[in-house]
């Protein structure tokens, strides 16, 4: 819809992932953590959709749910023209080669008892009938592609640095020539110089293999660098989705504004003059989100309607989606400046 020439590869509609909370002597179900609560987005073939938000907002859960690493609560996921929202796990196996994942912690995502070769070979063992020598050749190719020395194939993951381990993880994800890769904060555990290497590697591979990424990160400047479109999440919901330039130049949702104003400005003279939007309070508990808009407890432009009615997620400008009452129509924005402090305190009592 944004660009009609491109095909929609991944389409997520109203995805919900609720984790039950059990408590008490009988482990009765007393509630649920709404980690992802009604998320919809499309990813076009060959693009990178950045997914940003503060920690605990459900980014990673969303990424994993899209790949059906969890059994989702409800919603529809269409990847490569196949609906997988309700497919049972064993039947998903054929689908796995199309969609792969790069994990956040390169230390934890590699089995410490397997050699690098075995780790990269595992997808080949599972989904191909190649001979052992062919598999080894393929592994060597993949190691070249991600810039690892072939001679290290017999080493174990602990002998590698963080950046090299992440390359191993990327090589494993590439082994089956996937179309869609979810990168779950692939750079969060790496230091800055290595982050750039890994991100550049991801970009090169995208060009080389025509990959589509869902790039989950809390690093706004990195997302700006790699993503073509950006989705902003807050408390299990997408509050804004827009092309990169539009989002960074003119954020619509108050949360996006606050988030972007938190990005450090490298130029000190500019930094002195920037007005930061500083949010007060904490993120409400995802097991007990506020009535109405999820952001109403901290929003600087909160209105009465925000606390009662949940804003619909809709296209407000061509290609730009947001969920905010400020854009319902122009009349409603008049009350936007009503004292946020006073509203916040009453809201806090309600939520706690």
């Amino acid at each position: 819809m944004l660009d009609d020439r491109k095909k929609i590869l991944v389409s997520v509609k109203d995805l919900k992932m609720h984790f039950p909370i059990h408590a008490g002597l009988l482990r009765r179900r007393v509630g649920e953590v709404k980690a992802v609560d009604g998320v919809s987005f499309d990813v076009l073939e060959g693009e990178t959709l950045g997914l940003v938000g503060e920690s605990g907002c459900g980014k990673s859960t969303c990424g994993r749910a899209v790949l059906r690493l969890y059994d989702i609560t409800s919603g529809s996921i269409v990847i490569d023209d196949r609906e997988i929202g309700a497919t049972p796990q064993p039947e998903l196996r054929d689908m796995r080669p199309t969609m792969q994942m790069v994990f956040q912690d390169p230390q934890a995502s590699l089995n410490p008892r397997m050699t690098v070769e075995d780790i990269i070979k595992e997808p080949l063992d599972e989904h191909t009938t190649l001979k052992d020598a062919e598999k080894r050749a393929k592994v060597a190719e993949l190691m070249d592609a991600v810039g690892l020395n072939r001679k290290f194939a017999k080493r174990y993951p602990h002998a590698f640095s963080g950046g090299q381990r992440q390359r191993i993880g990327i090589a494993r994800a590439l082994a089956l020539n996937p179309k869609f890769i979810v990168c779950d904060e692939p750079i969060a555990a790496l230091d800055v110089s290595i982050q750039a290497q890994v991100v550049n590697l991801l970009e090169d591979l995208q060009e080389q293999f025509g990959l589509t990424y869902l790039f989950i990160s809390h690093d706004l400047s990195m997302v700006r660098h790699i993503a073509t479109r950006v989705a902003v999440m807050y408390l299990g919901k997408i509050v804004e989705l827009a092309p990169r330039e539009g989002l960074y130049a003119e954020p619509l949702h108050p949360y996006t504004k606050a988030l972007l104003s938190a990005v450090p400005e490298p130029d000190p003279s500019l930094a002195r003059n920037t007005q930061r939007v500083i949010l007060k309070g904490d993120v409400p508990s995802p097991s007990n989100p506020p009535e109405g808009c999820n952001f109403c407890t901290r929003c600087p432009s909160v209105m009465d309607i925000c606390k009662r009615i949940e804003p619909a997620y809709r296209e407000v400008q061509p290609g730009r989606f947001t969920a905010c009452h400020l854009y319902n129509d122009l009349d409603d924005t008049a009350g936007a400046t009503a004292g946020p402090e006073a509203n916040k305190s009453t809201n806090k009592e309600k939520t706690t």
Binding site: R64, L67, L69, P90, L92, R93, R96, P97, M99, Q100, M101, F103, Q104, D105, A108, S109, L110, N111, P112, R113, M114, T115, E122, P123, E126, H127, R136, A140, D144, N149, R150, K151, F152, A153, K154, R155, Y156, H158, A159, G169, R172, L176
Partner: protein, 328 residues
């Protein structure tokens, strides 16, 4: 990295993309395991002792051709040969280097014969217990649906008083098994099964806990995203990573099995009385321990040194099988 590369294969920094040279593939990773194992002094000492005691018990009776059950009343209460060093009047004989008991049975051949039984019972019962324990633990830890039922069953078995249970088992099944498999084999099977199925619970609990923790690790999630089915997930990712606790409970299990067998023999419900085991020799000699300390000393030493050796071997193996410690 530098010391690592010197240990493994030499790295060619000039031409990193050159294809695998054949000699690099030749080195099997089990050689690295062996190298690491060899560097553990205690484990090597344990291995040497275990080989020695195994040979002593298996080949020994062929060389030392004395019937362990043969009574020789005239030569009863012979002291071991070394007593002659400080007590010239003691009854010693080169024909009975470890002495004889109060019925004149040769202690050395008894220790050999007893060792055969004790080691066989110990190893078989331990392996059985480890297999059951690991199986139950992995199933309970990996499959949430089975967890409740399996762990309550484990608790149930754990809460049974073991010795009375074993006694009842002996009483109930001794005669039918004897009839089917012969007196010695029947009792052997009964004792091994009895010890095996009453000592797997600790292993199951430890393994379950570790599997549950492992299941949440990202590499298991990564394997799930690849589409690895649960069966291979367990053999490839879970089992190799719970090897350490299994190894520890295996070494402890061997000790417990040997000692439980001794206790059963002591209660008269183990092997027949003319059938020596280390535990039974030990218990038979306790009454006259002050007069003849050697009769307690030898089987006691054999039991504790074997257990110690196996413990050290387990320790060394655990280190050798862990690539992080192996420094590869």
């Amino acid at each position: 990295m530098t010391d690592v590369s010197s240990q493994v294969e030499p790295v060619d920094p000039v031409n990193p993309n050159e294809p695998f040279a054949p000699e690099e593939k030749a080195r099997n990773q089990w050689w690295d395991v062996w190298d690491q194992f060899r560097s553990h002094k205690g484990a090597m000492a344990g291995l040497i002792f275990l080989i020695f005691i195994t040979l002593f018990c298996s080949i020994g009776p062929l060389l030392w051709d004395v019937d362990p059950g043969k009574l020789d009343i005239r030569n009863k209460d012979v002291r071991p040969i070394y007593v002659a060093i400080w007590d010239g009047d003691a009854k010693t004989s080169w024909a009975r280097p470890m002495g004889t008991d109060h019925l004149g049975r040769d202690i050395m051949s008894n220790i050999m014969q007893g060792g055969r039984i004790s080691l066989a019972v110990g190893w078989t019962a331990m392996i059985l217990a480890i297999l059951i324990g690991t199986f139950v633990g992995v199933l309970a830890g990996y499959f949430k649906r089975l967890d409740w039922a399996l762990m309550r069953f484990t608790d149930l078995v754990l809460s049974l008083p073991l010795l009375p249970l074993l006694l009842v088992m002996m009483l109930l099944f001794r005669d039918p098994l004897r009839a089917t498999f012969g007196p010695e084999n029947g009792i052997f099977i009964l004792i091994v099964l009895g010890i095996g199925i009453t000592s797997w619970m600790q292993t199951a609990r430890i393994v379950r806990g570790d599997v549950m923790a492992l299941k949440e690790r990202e590499f298991v999630l990564a394997a799930r995203s690849i589409g690895t089915p649960p069966r291979r997930m367990i053999t490839r990712h879970v089992l190799p990573n719970v090897l350490s606790p299994i190894m520890v409970s295996a070494t402890l299990g061997l000790a417990t099995a040997i000692i439980t067998e001794s206790a059963l023999s002591f209660l008269g419900l183990g092997f027949p009385s003319d059938f020596p085991t280390w535990g039974k020799i030990l218990f038979d000699s306790v009454d006259r321990m002050t007069a003849f300390p050697e009769r307690v000393l030898w089987p006691g030493l054999a039991i504790s040194l074997t257990v110690l050796a196996v413990n050290y071997i387990g320790d060394g193996l655990r280190d050798a099988l862990d690539p992080r410690i192996r420094g590869m």
